[in-house]
């Protein structure tokens, strides 16, 4: 009998085993990093209108929040060593057109200068989480900041690329509403997923975006606002994704895989049987 043929069988079987083995290896997802707190905000897909300006809408209570810890800003002057807001719970929904993000955090007092912000990377260029500050070895991009302040009663849609470059955008696309009760702020930001403005983050269902948070306690202490400007509670980049619509093509692929495997078995057995007959 031909050695070539034995070789071929061995090769075929080896390839098959490697194929299954390799896909087992690839299939194991890496564990999420960061033992404490969440790594990502998930915008759940819903039907109908999103609760764009209602921090107390019933739908929020049906959503599992992501929770992020916050640190006093000691990265650059003016620093602050102790902040009021220590962590934030984040919930999100979208309907394929619009999205709404609810920030819930503890703040013992309701003050005119209380404020919250959500920051996003914009476009393809990576941007540093500290207002898109200059990076030395790579060129960074813009950040888009959605800022809400109690006394303004609305959101401001802003852009920054480096310190001292923060400015309101020409096109204001974001709205925000806050409600304080029993020591808890609930602030909802909303916008359409896509705006067509190059300065805005564009949210595409299924794609990951980078998001960071900041909060200011506007309480008046000794005649001065306690936290303002760079004195705030912050996070660095975490992830955000609008849930993609369910994808049924996956079942087609499962069937394809089963058919191919069954075909392989069929050929194998048929060949051996023929051999037996001859």
């Amino acid at each position: 009998m031909g050695y070539k043929k034995i070789f071929n069988v061995a090769l075929g079987l080896t390839l098959m085993v490697t194929g299954v083995g390799a896909s087992c290896v690839f299939a194991s997802n890496p564990p999420p990093e960061g033992e404490t707190g969440s790594v990502a905000v998930r915008l759940f897909l819903t039907e109908g209108a999103v609760p764009a300006d209602d921090p107390n809408a019933a739908v929020w209570n049906t959503i599992e929040p992501a929770e992020f810890k916050l640190a006093p800003q000691v990265h650059w002057p003016d620093r602050i060593q102790e902040v009021t807001v220590k962590s934030v719970k984040v919930r999100g929904v979208h309907n394929g057109e619009d999205m709404a993000i609810l920030l819930e955090y503890a703040d013992p007092s309701e003050d005119a200068a209380d404020a919250a912000a959500v920051e996003f990377m914009v476009g393809d260029k990576m941007a540093h989480f500290a207002h898109g500050q200059e990076m030395l070895q790579i060129e960074g991009g813009d950040v888009n900041i959605w800022y809400w302040k109690k006394e303004h009663g609305k959101a401001t849609d802003m852009t920054a690329k480096g310190f001292k470059t923060l400015r309101p955008q020409e096109n204001q696309d974001v709205s925000a509403t806050g409600a304080w009760q029993d020591g808890t702020w609930r602030v909802v930001f909303s916008r359409s997923l896509q705006t067509g403005d190059a300065l805005d983050v564009q949210v595409t269902p299924g794609e990951w975006r980078n998001v960071a948070f900041a909060f200011w306690d506007g309480e008046i202490v000794d005649g001065d606002v306690k936290e303002k400007g760079s004195q705030k509670a912050i996070s660095s980049w975490w992830y955000l994704r609008a849930e993609p619509p369910p994808d049924n093509s996956i079942y087609g692929y499962v069937v394809l895989g089963i058919v191919l495997a069954a075909g392989f078995e069929f050929f194998l057995v048929r060949k051996i049987r023929r051999g037996n007959e001859s």
Partner: protein, 241 residues
């Protein structure tokens, strides 16, 4: 031999083009590992079909072949054979499913923690002598500027350390500064997170760029205080060789 091989090659190329380019026109693209799995199955089937006579295969497979064809089998062996035949396609189907099932995990991050420093920071020696006064001064500066993040105990657990990804380095861990030279620390402290190259993801680092606030002299003394306080010593040039 040429005929079957060419046919196999055409089949494989056709399958690849179908999986990689034609299917994605209609549905989501397949991950590379699944394309590989499917091609491997196609290849193995084609090899068996085209290139082998049944007899040699039977000889080669022996008892396995008899098991697979089911000749003269009954009872447990027969059941086992059916089980194998059912389980193998199911395994492939299950692999497909786990590969494609929508994941809520963000993309894996392969961040290089200790990238190569720029040339001008290689091999610099600390110009200040390791005197108790210098170490003392370094520890004082560390307490003022670094401990909020890196911790008063050099363990990376300062009050301002939470909420950052990656977290502030833990200097008491033998995997951080004990692996590094003083000149490397000088670079990292002076240029901060924003001074990192792309593979270290500078946009994520909360490490400040201290050159805008601290003179070089302070930075060298902080390095001394940092090693002393963390109970580590810097990697030297001799070890490097």
């Amino acid at each position: 031999m040429k005929g079957p091989l060419a046919k196999t090659a055409i089949l494989l190329v056709g399958m690849y083009v179908f999986l990689k380019f034609i299917l994605p026109l209609f549905t989501a693209p397949l991950p590379a590992s699944l394309i590989f799995l499917y091609l491997a199955l196609t290849f193995a089937s084609a090899m068996i079909f085209y290139t082998m006579s049944g007899g040699s295969l039977d000889e080669f497979m022996g008892p396995v072949g008899r098991f697979l064809t089911g000749s003269g089998q009954a009872g447990i062996a027969g059941t086992a054979r059916i089980l194998v035949f059912v389980l193998f396609p199911l395994l492939v189907g299950w692999q497909t499913y786990t590969r494609l099932a929508p994941s809520d995990l963000p993309p894996a991050e392969n961040r290089t923690i200790h990238p190569a420093p720029p040339g001008e920071f290689v091999g610099l020696a600390n110009p200040y002598p390791r005197t108790p006064e210098n170490i003392m001064m370094g520890k004082g500066l560390y307490a003022a500027f670094c401990s909020p993040c890196h911790g008063a105990n050099f363990d990376g657990k300062g009050p301002a350390a939470v909420g950052f990804n990656p977290p502030p380095a833990n200097f008491s861990d033998p995997g951080t500064i004990a692996q590094l030279q003083e000149s490397y620390l000088f670079w990292r402290i002076k240029k901060g997170g924003v001074g990192l190259p792309v593979e270290a993801m500078p946009w994520k680092s909360a490490m400040p760029r201290w050159e805008v606030e601290l003179p070089d002299e302070w930075i060298w003394k902080i390095i001394m205080g940092e090693y002393d306080g963390a109970g580590q010593s810097p990697r030297t040039w001799e070890e490097e060789e």
